[in-house]
């Protein structure tokens, strides 16, 4: 697991990347670029039940639990939001439920996102974080159940 970075390490990476930009124009360009690179979610996942509430644009988020780790996939019809969620995925995907639940995600603040985004949009970002943590909590609870009740633990394919 030599290439396995902790959530904190990935957060630090992102903060360092953003430190290279001196204008928000450049930051947005980078976020948009990340949004464009995030693979589109298959249509079958674009269900109402996978929508994140509290966002102005539509955001779909699905998670998968494999070998003790959670993997996220997401999509949005708005590209900046997609860029933001791609950062969240980069930080949180492939970690254990506990790691995700306990992540403080200070990078969002450190890259200036919370102060820069209008309140309504910042709320959308927080809604995504909350949803990801909720998934982690759900997997953790299922995980702690006795054997036999865990068959439905993987949500997607």
């Amino acid at each position: 697991m030599s290439d396995h970075k902790t959530i904190q390490e990935i957060e630090n990476e992102i903060v360092e990347e953003f430190a290279l930009f001196d204008s928000w124009d450049d930051k947005y360009e980078y976020i948009i670029d990340m949004g464009k690179k995030l693979p589109a979610l298959e249509e079958k996942h674009k269900l109402d039940e996978n929508k994140v509430r509290g966002c102005q644009s539509t955001v779909w988020l699905v998670s998968e639990y494999k070998d003790g780790l959670i993997y996220f996939k997401a999509d949005s019809d708005a590209i900046i939001v997609k860029g933001l969620i791609s950062m969240l995925i980069r930080v949180l995907t492939g970690h254990t439920p506990d790691e995700i639940i306990n992540a403080n995600l200070e990078f969002i603040q450190k890259i200036g996102m919370t102060t820069h985004l209008a309140q309504t949009r910042a709320n959308g970002l927080l809604a995504m974080v909350k949803q990801m943590k909720n998934y982690a909590l759900a997997f953790k609870i299922k995980n702690s159940m006795p054997h036999g009740e865990r068959s439905a633990e993987t949500k997607s394919n």
């Binding site: 928000w24 124009d25 947005y28 360009e29 948009i32 102005q56 644009s57 539509t58 019809d77 708005a78 590209i79 900046i80 939001v81 820069h116 985004l117 209008a118 949009r121």
Partner: protein, 413 residues
């Protein structure tokens, strides 16, 4: 002494800008370009000063004390009612009720006139381009009463009057229509809508939230039964608005809320209600903001609605000409008569992305469904980008918008 710009036909927009302190601020390191005027307008210094003056010098409760401050506050409060009466040309001051805003005005009618007059099987007609505040109160009422809510359809932002005529019948009890669409800027032919409704025996409420600041309002000539508007969209403070109603209707309506101010006499057995308009103004009103509404309305009148309109129309035309040249951009709503609103959609781009990138350049627009989801649904889009203009906006600001859009599209596409 009369200054030259007050007699000229042209608006001196640069002199006007100096009167709005908020326009001086920077947003994201750039001078603010405020194009969200349909949501709320900025306030001129005279309005801000009047509010400070009220709280500094004559804050008191109205209609109660006999002391000097109470008398001054009451006089100012009632003078503002007179100013509002004049602004919409109501026949009498008793027909002018202070509310929190358009939303409360519409709800007041739904809860009082509606509860009393709407029965099972009755029909209420609204339009496809209503703001949610002129949809939901009627949905609630219809649900409670077993009445039916119908919508006049629109095409390209124009109401289909032939369809409206087909909807009208003896079952129609109320027609409630937006005067100017906040999402598209369409000016609806309310005179004709009202005439047809009256022929069918229905009453008419006009949602004047967007029209009051731009058009000359004459509720008597229009012959509407109710008219509601909000102060904050007419350069006045938030939290205050006006509901106009024809006197005979208001007199027959039960009160809205119970409390102080709205009663004549209270015994445990029976309460008699105060005369109009106080019957509908229970409790201590929003005195400060009500007082200052007068300042705002007078400011608009003194500046000259016609001059303002001419300036705003010029801006709208200038903006529209430039906008349509952007690749993939569609103006939403093709009405021949529009005021001050450029609502548009750009292919393959979510309005929210544009909104964020424009904000990053200090440009304030509204993106989204504009509280008119049924309308957006008709156009098959998640929402629009809306730039709405006020008396203080300039062509240079429109140029900033266009530049901002070009830069945003370069990033997004």
């Amino acid at each position: 002494m009369i200054q030259s710009n007050t007699i000229s036909k042209e608006l001196d927009v640069y002199a006007i800008r100096k009167q709005f302190p908020a326009l001086n601020r920077q947003v994201k390191g750039q001078p603010l370009v405020y194009f969200d005027n349909a949501a709320t307008t900025q306030k001129p210094q005279v309005v801000i000063d009047a509010l400070v003056d009220y709280y500094t010098n004559y804050n008191a409760n109205v209609h109660r004390g006999i002391h000097t401050l109470a008398e001054e506050a009451t006089a100012a409060f009632e003078a503002s009612r007179d100013a509002a009466r004049q602004f919409i040309n109501a026949a009498s001051r008793e027909e002018v009720i202070f509310t929190r805003g358009t939303t409360e005005g519409i709800n007041l009618v739904a809860y009082t006139w509606g509860r009393k007059n709407i029965k099972a099987g009755d029909e209420i007609i609204i339009t496809e381009m209503e703001h949610h505040s002129n949809i939901v109160p009627w949905q609630l009422l219809c649900e409670e009463k077993g009445a039916l809510l119908k919508m006049i359809p629109q095409q390209d932002g124009v109401l289909l009057l032939d369809e409206y005529k087909k909807l009208l019948s003896s079952k129609t009890k109320l027609v409630s229509v937006v005067h100017v669409s906040n999402a598209l800027g369409t000016v609806n032919p309310v005179e004709e809508i009202i005439k047809l409704a009256h022929q069918a025996g229905a009453k008419v409420l006009i949602d004047g939230a967007q029209s009051t600041v731009h058009l000359d309002i004459d509720v008597q000539a229009m012959d509407c039964d109710f008219f509601a508007f909000s102060s904050h969209k007419v350069y006045g403070p938030t939290g205050i608005g006006v509901l106009y109603g024809k006197r005979e209707l208001l007199e027959a309506m039960p009160p809205f809320q119970g409390g102080g101010e709205m009663i004549k006499e209270v015994t445990l057995e029976k309460t008699t209600y105060a005369d109009l308009p106080y019957k509908f103004e229970a409790g201590t009103p929003n005195i400060g903001d009500a007082v200052v509404l007068k300042t705002a309305l007078e400011y608009v009148s003194k500046t000259g609605k016609e001059k303002i309109r001419k300036h705003e129309t010029e801006l709208l035309n200038y903006a529209t000409e430039q906008l349509v040249q952007l690749p993939g951009l569609r103006i939403i709503g093709a009405a021949a008569t529009k005021v001050s609103v450029a609502s548009f959609f750009i292919d393959k781009v979510h309005p929210q992305d544009i909104g964020i990138l424009l904000d990053n350049r200090g440009i304030a627009v509204r993106t989204g469904h504009h509280c008119a989801q049924p309308l957006m649904h008709c156009f098959g889009i998640p929402g629009t980008i809306r730039a709405s203009f006020a008396m203080y906006n300039t062509k240079e600001e429109v140029d900033q918008l266009i530049l901002g859009l070009q830069k945003a599209l370069k990033l997004l596409l």
